[in-house]
Structures are given as C-alpha cells and as structure tokens.
Symmetry: C2
Subunit: 531 residues, 2 copies
C-alpha cells in the first residue's frame, strides 16, 4: 500500500518515512483507512525551513488577507463537511450526529471565523502608544507554531483545523500541524482544504504544513528547534511534560493542555432543592462523549449527609442504565482501566463499573467510585489520578472545613464548579468553598456543569499547572487565544514612516483599539500630542 | 559580630543561618557593613507559609489599600534617601550623584507611584465580559512572588524596592525578597521602610519579607515550591538557567532577565552625517555606570568603509581618554576579564583595553574589540559572549547581506538599535536591516542609544530568550509589568453578588476600563444587555 503524502513546503510530497501506521476503527478494533508515514527528522527539518520562509512573508501580510484565508477555509470545510465527519466518525467512534456534524464542525468553522475577525480587526495586537516619549509597542507573531492536537476533538482542536491552529494563523504564524495519529485521515482532509484555501487567497505556500507522526526524539527536537516560535500541545500529561522539558530547556514557549479532573462541589442545599435536575446534569456531563472531555467532571465533592447518599445512589442507577459509548482508542481504554485500578488501590471504593466490556469495540462500563475526604487527604496525589473516560470519583467530607482541605490539596484544573442553594441560605458556605477553589481553577462555574466551552473573549480554557503550562493564557476565545503566539515588540524613537501601520498616529482603517496615553481609544493620535 | 535579622512573617527575627557573609566595598576590595546570615531552608519554609497567609488576606484587599501602601512606601524612601544612597554607594561603588541620588532613587519612587496608580485604577485586570453568555473573566494575582534582584541597580531593580517588587505588590502578590548579596544593607534599609509602611497602612504583615542569601539548593527549591506563585529574577545567565530549570519542572512561572548584548547597527549614512555626535552618544552609553547596564551596547555592527574605520579610531581615542569607573564586584571584574579573553580566543582583535587596572578597587580598562563579520559567522556563539562591563565588540561586515546574516545569528536581546541617515537616502537599507533585527529584540530604537529604559506602559524591557524567559512580557512599565504575576480567572454563570466587584454590571468607582461585548469601555454593563 502506498503511503499517504505529507504536506511540506507547499507540496504534497512523499515523506522520508522511518515507519508506517494506520488508524484503528475503535468500533471494531481493526485498522482502517490508508497507510501513513512516520516522518524522519528530515521531514521536520524541511518543514521548519519552509515555515521560516513563510513567516518572513506573513510578517508583511496584512491581517485582512489572513482573515480571507480563514474564512475561505471555513467555507471549504463546510463544502466537504460530510466526508470530514465520516472520516472522524470512523477514526474516533464519536457520534456522527449530533456531536461531529452538528456540534463540533460548526464550532470549528465558527472558531475560524472568529479568528478571521480578530485578524482583520487587529486589536489583538494591543497597540500601546506613549505620545510624549514616542515609545510605542504592540504584539507581533512569534514565528512558526507547531500544533499537536489531541485525540478527543478531531475537528475543533484538530492540529490543522482547531483553536490552536486558528489562533496561530490569525496572529500571523505559519503552522506545522502534527496530526494526532488516531485520526490521520480527518486531519489530512482538513489540511487539503486549508492548503487549497492558502493557494486561493495567495498566502505563502508553507503557511500550513502537515506531518502525521514523529518518533519521540524528533518531537522533542522539533519543539526545541531554534527556527520554531512556539508549540501548542493538547494531550496526555506524560508526553506533554516531556515536550515541555525539551522546549523549556531551549527557551521556547510551549502551551500545554495536559490534564484536569474538574472538581464539582455539590452543596447540600442545592441537592435538597433540585436533586433530580442535578443528577441529570451530572450524568449527562460525565458521560458526554464517553467522558472524553478535558472539562469532564471527574471529581465530585460532597458533604456527608442524606442528600449526598441519595445523589450517589441515583447516579449509580443512571450509570448502570446508560449504555456506554465507544472509547477513542485501545490506549484510552487501557489507561482508563489502569487509572480506575490506581484509584481503587489508593482507597477508593467502586460503586459501579470498573471493567472493560466484552465485544470488539473499546468499551468500558460507566464507572463511579467513592472515597472519604479523610482517606483522600492521606493520598491526595494518587486520588487525583485522571481517569480519562466515563468515570468519576465522589469524595465525601465530614464538614466544610474538611472539604476545603481537600480543595487545598488539588492540583491546578481547567474548571471548578459549585452548585449551591438558589435561596440565599448557603452563601456563607459558598463563599468559603469558592475562596479555596478559585485560585486552583481557570474557570469557576455556578450551577452549571463544566463540559461546554463557549468560544468567547471572556472564556478561560486554561488554568494553573498541570491543567496547562502557563496560568496567564487561554486556549479558547478570540482574541485572547492569539496572545500565546506573540512577542511584545517596542519601537523607541522610531519615525512614523518606519513604524508598522498599527503604531502610526493615524489609526489604520477599521478603528483598531489602541491604548494611547493611558486610555483605550479607536481614534488617531491627536495632532496636539507630543509625537 | 551579631548577624542581622531577616524579615519573616511580620517580624525582624534571628535567621536559622547556615553561614554568614558581609558586603564588599568595591572601591577598596575590603568587607564592609555588618554580617548577614545565609538562611537555611527553615527560613524559606517559614517565609513561604507566612506569604500564603498574607496572600489569602491580600486577595480580599481592595486595590486602593495596596496603592496607599506603595505611595506611603515611596514617601518613606524619600525621607530616608540619603542613608539609602550612601549604603548603595558603599556597596556598589555606583556614583552617589547624579546616578544613585538623582536618577535611580527618583526612578524607584516614581515606579512605586506608577504601580500604585495601576493598583488603584484596576484596569490591569483586563476585565472581560460577555453579557449574552454571562461569562466574565479577569486577571488575578498568582500568589507569593519571590524577587531576586540584580547587582547593578540596587534601588530601581532592588528585590524589595524595584520594578518586580512594585509590579508583584500592585497585582496583589506578597513578595519574598531575596537580596542580592552584594548589597544587603541597601536592601535591608528598603525592607525596613517597606515593613513600616505595611504596618501603617494595615496590609498583612508578611506582605513583604526579606532573606539575604540562600544556598544554591535552597534557591532551586524555593522557586519550585508549591506555595509559591512565581519568581522574578534578574541576574547572571548561568544561575538564571538553573533556577529556570527548577521552576519549569514544577510548572511555576519564572520571569528572567538574563543576558543581552544589545546590537547597535551604525549605517554609513548616519556616520557620514553626524560622526561626532554618534561617537559621543556611543561612548557615553557604553561607559555609563561602567557599562553595567542590561541594555549596554555590547555589539556594534558596521559596514566596511572609511566611516566605520573613523568611528573605530575615534571610539578608541575616547575610551583611552576616559577614566574607567569602579566595577560592582570582584566577580564582575573576573567575569569581564574572562569574557574578553573568550572573545579574543574566538578571533576578536583587541583595539584597546583588555586588562585589569592596578589599585585596590575593581577596575578594568575601557575595552574595545573588533572582528570581521566573516569571522563572527564562524563562531557566532562565542562571539556573542556577554562581556558585562565597560567593553564592546565591533563587527565589520563586507556588505548589507553579510550584516543581515550576522543579525540572523544573534540570540534574543532586550534591544536593537539602528542609526541611519536622516535624509531619507538610506531607507531601503534601513528596512532590510530592521526586518532581520526586529524579531530578535524586544525594543527597536532609531538614532538613540539603548541605555535608558523609560517607565511607561509602552515600554518593552523584555525580549526573546535568553534576554528573558518569555517574549510576551515586559519587566518595566505599568500596568504591563503586573501581567507576569497574574492568572486568568473566568466566571461562568456566576450570579452578580458572587462576582468580584470588577466583573459586576456596575463599573466600580474609578471608571475601570473593561472589554464588554467586543469593545473597551468605562461604562457599566448597560441594562438592556443580556446579563
């Protein structure tokens, strides 16, 4: 079987392969689709050279042109939507409808269009002008960005289609996409459309490049290469930490989304008030996409009492009544099983589930575990093991103080959720819990499950380590997601005609927001100021 | 002799010392001032615990109170100015006047007052509101910050008085100051005034803490401690990289200012037009503070030709006519000598200087070296050795293309400077050079030497690695310098009364700037929006 081509330097070309692989259909456990190359360093090296050349051109490309590309790309995706979602369905077993076709695909194209708007508007550059001193600064693209997407969102976080891709391109950074090897065909279809759009709009040919898989040592070398600007990685903690160490040692920014168990605190007043609704919301959120969400509620904190017992019983029932979906891969299944074992060894009691299901597909029984807060506090590290998939752990605390101690032992998470009484009689308790939870999570939710990440400037899909690599940045939301791929550039005493357009006295067309002498404005620098 | 006390947990207390040290007067080479402790881990551990407690209180402290502290502290510094600058002069040999008393001290208090303004105003939090989705986010303090200041700015970058200190406090982070051990008394005097101001204003006692010196292993442990939020380090590259590795491995942000040789390109048209002025500006900038500036012009790029020869000759003359100042320490002297040797071994020719001067103080002859661009390109790494002190290296290129190749081989720098003809006849050459130089430096200057870092929001005192650890952030300029010590915090579906004041519909008093539904405004959320 002929190996699929990589996209390097504006050409679909034969890879210098060191190995080959195929995707696996999670519903059958059998290989599917064509054979793909594992690239040698040679392919990376060529891609890096080409990306540098593309970057030199992109630095001189107006945001309007980049916006046109992102919009054209979104249209092309829509025109080929059916084939893309079919491929993604075969490679990931995620439901075709509504998930892939009606939720994730529109989210993907919507994200590209929001990125287009950010590129066109240019306010993401945060132009800052001190007219008296004639010192001016703005954010500028950092250089070629390597995007390594995860297994669980083949479209919206895909290496050649997702949020990191859109943000990097919108900021003016060429992307070297490294497909997740569980869905190479999905990623290839995206890259085909992206490359067509690149050509239609006339961007530099190597603005988008695609490799399918690398040896570990080449991945480590890639993220540390002097030619690279930064890396956006979403995936497993163990691989992510290795990549982080390599990039850090070279002083290369790497933005990571690694692991998160997303604590959900259910206060007794909330359970008393609306038990059925909360059980329903929790079960839906926890089993959505077979639990394979970065914001999946993997840890539920409860106060000892009748309400919490009822909650546990009802969730067990619902977990048992709900037929589990197919997991993304054999690896996910093995890791889930290993994590559940580790939780049990650390003292968690199995309430339901806890074993692989028979049949050809990768399926695992919906799993609920339980542990006391006292026990949790004896082994907080082990009991925070992320069980990625359709599993969650209940932690039952004797009182509010113990609950807060558990929270104080949590690692950084993407989200933290509190359900409380809506009658105003639980505010003191809410405040106490929120005070402890707030610094440990990127997004704090009230009375709403965490598995839904709206694409808005106000979103934070980020959080303290190890949820992500840097707590200042978000991976979702335009324009903030762009900031990860920027460097701050200052101009000191530089004459008008040598300044980039966004720093000249005259505001470029489009009324960009600029911070001039201590205030945000869309106006020109007024003629009576010092500059 | 009794050891000086450390400031831990709101008390000047006896250190648990593992060793002792004294400052050295650089003018005599003799120890001066009292004995100071090298702290054990026990002191760090106590300081970390106390800082966590202070942080919990600071999280609930209004910006107005923090602003009052910063302003009161600035006043107290002014009241004790003479003693502070005398101590700094003895410990660093930097000139009392104008440098310490008339330049650095006012800059220090000015910086504290700018930080106060940022804390009071609150716009640094970048509140972002999506009224339709009721998703809101803002920047929040990251936690206790360890500040390790450098030797060369005992006041304006001092661990308990400088830019990192001011930025961390203004953002609401308690500071554990680790004094530079070359000027412990200066740092202690600052901490005394800071602590008095803390008490007067009623901030948590451990808002400011002070240790003087740590064993290396304890420094590495400190920056990686789970209780710490982040570290701000300014100093040597070798120590900085070790600290960075330790902090990175623990996922703790560390902001570094490490090394920078600040390339200055002198185009022939500029030299033809105003040779005398440029020689004067360069010599002043290069020998200012004995060359011990992070933005010292350590590398001058020239095109081969008569003008460049004249420039070199005249600088040699001026270097020989100018009496060298006293260096900060014996270590600086030894490193400078070793760096000059390394440059010579790599092929640089010595035009003048190159040796230690006789006498008791730490003095080195003003040093100018020269190398061809061709030779530079054979050993670009060695020939970028930072010779911290009164030394600079001229690189002479055969043509513009070779000049740009040299630039392409430069590591990240804080600044890059281009002098060009002001007659408009060198614009093409300017553009070519600027295109290559721009991505390699944090601040690009025209016709102005880089030593001078104005404290303005438009400043970038930062740059690509290894100039700093992250190219997105600046260490100077309010409010941007605060952003290093923040985490992004999102609130999703959180009712008004549970939101922090800056995210409620009503804009807090003071007309904070907020990004609401895609525009910057100081208004309240309008009553007809969705929230």
């Amino acid at each position: 079987m002929q190996l699929q081509a990589v996209l390097v330097a504006g050409q679909w070309r034969k890879a210098q392969a060191v190995d080959r692989f195929r995707a696996v259909d999670p519903q059958t456990g059998q290989p599917c689709g064509p054979e793909y190359p594992v690239s040698s360093w040679h392919d990376c090296d060529q891609a890096l050279d080409a990306a540098c050349e593309a970057f030199a051109q992109l630095r001189q490309t107006p945001g309007e042109r980049i916006a046109q590309f992102l919009e054209r790309y979104a249209e092309r995706i829509e025109a080929r939507a059916e084939q893309i979602v079919q491929a993604a369905h075969q490679e990931t077993a995620l439901p075709l409808r509504p998930r892939l076709a009606e939720v994730e695909l529109p989210r993907t194209t919507g994200q590209l269009r929001q990125a287009a708007q950010a590129a066109r508007d240019g306010s993401w550059r945060r132009p800052t002008i001190d007219t008296k001193l004639n010192i001016r600064s703005r954010l500028a693209p950092l250089g070629p960005v390597c995007v390594m997407g995860p297994n669980n969102f083949p479209l919206a976080f895909g290496s050649a289609s997702g949020g990191d891709f859109a943000a990097a391109i919108a900021a003016g950074c060429p992307v070297i996409a490294k497909a997740h090897s569980s869905h190479p065909t999905t990623t290839r279809l995206f890259a085909e459309e992206a490359f067509q759009a690149v050509q239609e709009v006339g961007l530099p040919p190597a603005t988008v490049q695609l490799l399918y898989r690398l040896r570990h040592q080449d991945g480590l070398r890639l993220v540390a290469d002097p030619r690279l600007g930064a890396t956006g990685y979403t995936g497993s903690r163990s691989s992510g930490l290795k990549l982080k160490a390599a990039a850090d040692a070279a002083g290369k920014p790497i933005y990571l989304e690694l692991s998160s168990i997303n604590p959900v605190v259910l206060l007794p007043g909330a359970l008393r008030e609306r038990m059925q609704a909360i059980v329903q919301e929790f079960v839906t959120s926890c089993l959505l996409g077979c639990g394979q969400f970065c914001t999946n509620p993997g840890l539920v904190l409860l106060l000892a009492g009748e309400e919490s017992e009822q909650f546990a019983q009802q969730v067990v029932q619902r977990f048992q009544q709900t037929s589990p979906g197919v997991l993304l891969s054999g690896g996910v299944l093995r890791n889930l099983d290993a994590s559940v074992r580790r939780l049990r060894e650390a003292g968690a009691e199995l309430l339901t589930g806890g074993q692989q299901l028979p049949g050809p597909g990768f399926r695992y029984a919906n799993t609920l575990l339980r542990v006391s807060a006292a026990r949790f506090l004896e082994a907080p590290r082990d009991l925070q093991t992320e069980a990625f998939g359709n599993s969650s752990l209940l932690v039952v605390a004797a009182d509010a103080e113990e609950l807060c101690r558990v929270i104080d032992h949590l690692e950084g998470n993407l989200t933290g959720t509190i359900y409380a009484s809506t009658q105003g009689d639980e505010e003191t308790l809410y405040e106490q819990v929120a005070f402890h939870l707030r610094p440990r999570v990127g997004r704090l939710l009230c009375d709403k499950m965490p598995t839904g990440v709206a694409v808005t400037a106000a979103m934070n899909h980020g959080g303290p380590f190890p949820a992500t690599g840097h707590p200042h940045f978000t991976a979702v939301g335009m324009p903030p997601a762009l900031w990860r791929f920027t460097q701050l550039q200052c101009y000191d005493n530089v004459p008008q005609h040598r300044l980039p357009p966004e720093l000249r006295d005259k505001n470029p067309p489009g009324r960009m927001w600029r911070w001039i002498d201590g205030r945000w404005t869309q106006e020109d620098v007024s003629s009576d100021s010092g500059a």
